[in-house]
């Protein structure tokens, strides 16, 4: 690498380079009772377990139940992933994040020409039910908690379908299914530009999944508006939270049209980002619970306590991790985990210290779990609920952010709601402006990243940093990819088409006739319908090209279905 630019900071007498939080909220040197005079304990905070749940969802908080510890488990093969799941569970992991590789997340099969370059990257190439069966073999399906954090909206429909199909095939009551789907149509387009479906199809699929789940798998949270990925893409904390609230509000409104009330729906889940700014992150979590409780009660007339409760699932910031001096990432992740515990979150997926180097190694993941055990059992942080509650600074910050989030929500509403804001490109502009602001601050030295634009290492890298680089997980080879393509082709050729075709036809007709698509997806998945076929058939029913990439034509049996219908 060439000459690197470094911001000069006096290492001995150094001072803070900024006077505002990471999101640009200007703060004073100190806060006192005058700054929190407007805050009412009963109305704005409440005891843990009481409305508006600012201080936490449960009176006993972590004494009663610790946060769920989860990872996105993303190894290349079903076998490796299954092995890793078992190892993690043995080390205290309680929540399984089932991710798949990037092509299947985008709605295409491994034998699609565009799959090649990212095949088996980011997870297993989960093209059909056989892969799920292998990946989940021997795992406690009725007891585990699953999370879906895929990119495309087709993923939630299809992979939830696979999970239900596997459980039903094993004779397990699907009512026992626990966990959540991100299923956030705004995030899929705004952040990932997912090609699987156009937005208007995304929006319908989202509701189909929720509706089916509410009525058949009551312990599954079928939507978790996602702030993590918008935030990683550039949104600040205010817009991250505002975006989640806007999506949740829109979806609850849409569900009402399908006759589902908020009380029937139950608790909401948000997937939020634990960023590097310690207090801002804690304030954001507390505020998220409070604002959703108020919206649920005041806007949707929630009657039950459950329906006013927001569960927070966390992913710690991957973007904050650096390629330079990767050991430093241990400090970053530890602080981020601490902010989650102090903020009273419900589940936590922490990034690994080697994530900026490669896909996380198993060792780095286990270090992560241990960090959480140390915070719990050695540092005793979770002993008391909301231990920072009442802090002048934190309470002021929480209250100030509420005003800012409300302004943002107001603007979205004035622009016709969150979908109109997506389709007009306004959300993109907001994201871009926010991202550029950060980029500028870094260039101007107003945002220091240790080891990157300040406090850089002189000379050779030490052995620990080197070792972190070396253990990072290596992506699959060309030979492994070739074998995968051959495997998929064999699988497709070996299916009982007499059984499969009418079930796929069922999905085609349900899509066309506006009926819920979730059950037909489950049934067809049992007979071997692949993710690419699922996406293609739904697209075809809408009269758009079978292939999101427009590179391949529909298979013959789908062509026959279209002709026959």
């Amino acid at each position: 690498m060439g000459e690197q630019v470094e911001v000069k900071v006096d290492r001995k007498a150094g001072h803070m380079v900024r006077t505002s939080t990471q999101s640009g909220i200007e703060v004073k040197p100190f806060y006192n009772d005058k700054d929190v005079q407007h805050i009412s304990y009963a109305e704005d905070l409440g005891d843990p377990g009481s409305y508006p749940f600012t201080r936490g969802l449960y009176p006993e908080m972590y004494r009663d139940r610790l946060w769920l510890k989860s990872f996105i488990v993303s190894y290349a093969t079903a076998e490796e992933t299954n092995k890793a799941f078992r190892q993690y569970i043995a080390n205290g992991l309680t929540d399984l994040r089932l991710l798949c590789d990037l092509p299947t997340q985008s709605g295409i099969d491994p034998d699609h020409p565009s799959a090649w370059n990212s095949m088996m990257c980011g997870g297993v190439a989960t093209y059909a039910i056989n892969v799920y069966e292998e990946m989940l073999e021997g795992l406690p399906l009725g007891e585990a908690v699953f999370e879906f954090a895929h990119a495309g909206m087709s993923s939630f429909l299809y992979f939830y379908g696979l999970l239900v199909a596997v459980m039903e095939n094993k004779g397990i009551d699907i009512k026992k299914l626990r966990g959540n789907s991100i299923n956030d149509p705004i995030r899929s387009k705004l952040v990932y530009g997912c090609p699987d479906f156009p937005t208007f199809v995304d929006r319908r699929i989202c509701l189909d999944h929720i509706e089916y789940s509410v009525r058949n798998t009551p312990n599954w949270r079928p939507i978790a508006p996602n702030g993590v990925d918008p935030c990683q893409a550039g949104m600040d904390a205010v817009k991250e939270l505002g975006g989640c609230l806007a999506v949740a509000t829109q979806v609850m409104t849409d569900l009402a049209e399908r006759g589902i009330t908020i009380d029937e729906f139950g608790p909401m889940v948000f997937a939020l980002d634990a960023e590097s700014d310690f207090f801002e992150t804690i304030a954001k979590f507390r505020l998220a619970r409070k604002m959703w409780a108020k919206i649920a009660k005041e806007k949707f007339n929630a009657k039950t306590k459950r329906a006013m409760q927001l569960k927070i699932g966390i992913r710690t910031s991957g973007l904050s991790l650096t390629h330079q001096k990767p050991l430093n990432n241990a400090a970053r992740v530890t602080l981020q985990i601490l902010s989650c515990v102090l903020g009273g979150v419900n589940s936590l997926d922490a990034s690994s210290i080697d994530e900026a180097v490669g896909l996380p190694s198993i060792e780095a993941r286990l270090f992560n779990l241990d960090t959480q055990h140390i915070i719990t059992h050695e540092a005793n942080v979770p002993l008391v609920a909301d231990p920072l509650g009442g802090s002048y600074y934190l309470e002021w910050l929480t209250s100030h952010m509420e005003t800012e989030v409300n302004k943002y929500l107001q603007e979205i509403e004035e622009r016709g709601g969150v979908f109109a804001c997506l389709e007009s490109g306004w959300l993109n502009e907001v994201l871009e402006a926010s991202r550029l602001k950060v980029q500028r601050e870094k260039a101007e030295g107003k945002r220091l990243i240790v080891g990157v634009n300040a406090f850089r290492q002189e000379g050779e890298e030490g052995p620990v940093n080197k070792a972190i680089r070396d253990v990072a997980y290596k992506p699959p080879t060309v030979a492994a990819r070739e074998e995968k393509v051959a495997e998929v082709k064999r699988y497709k050729a070996g299916r009982d088409m007499k059984r499969l075709k009418p079930l796929v036809k069922g999905l085609y007709r349900a899509t066309k006739e506006g009926r819920n698509t979730q059950r037909p997806v489950i049934d067809a998945a049992k007979a071997g319908m692949t993710v690419g076929e699922c996406v293609g058939v739904i697209r075809t029913a809408y009269g758009i090209h079978y292939d999101p990439f427009k590179e391949i034509e529909m298979p013959d049996f789908v062509r026959e279905i279209v002709k026959e219908t």
Binding site: Q4, Y192, H323, Q324, A356, V357, P475
Partner: protein, 131 residues
């Protein structure tokens, strides 16, 4: 002899990698440093990237990827460029890279090979140096 013009760069993402922030950040940085930048967007094929690079008569193709597949991607893009009979378009890469990846990329003639968090000035200077 050569006409004077801004440096033209094609920023490309091949395959289904969804991480776009690095590419976008590079895009605006290069523009702000007086370059003409063409961004292909996500979900590209190697052939499409090579075709765009030749059509747009760019000086540099910058590949961005966060799946750990940069060597595979670079190899196929280089081979597609070769099919067009073009060898003077420089290819640079950035994203998730292991030391082994960097080595194999360098062997192919792909330069830069920057990890996340690399200061933008470094990349700008590298591209200027190439052209």
């Amino acid at each position: 002899m050569e006409e004077k013009r801004p440096i033209r760069v094609l920023i490309a993402k091949v395959g289904c990698d969804i991480h776009e922030r690095g590419a976008l950040t590079l895009m605006t940085t290069l523009r702000d440093n007086g370059m003409e930048v063409i961004y292909t967007g996500r979900y590209q094929t190697p052939k499409g990237v090579a075709n765009a690079a030749v059509s747009e008569d760019v000086d540099v193709v910058a590949l961005s990827d966060h799946t750990g597949s940069l060597p595979i991607i670079a190899e196929s893009v280089l081979s597609e460029l070769e099919k067009f009979g073009v060898s003077d378009i420089k290819v640079v890469a950035g994203g998730l890279l292991t030391p082994a990846d960097v080595k194999s990329l360098e062997d192919m003639g792909v330069t830069g090979n920057y990890g996340p968090g690399t200061p933008m000035e470094v990349i700008v200077e590298h591209i200027r140096g190439l052209v």
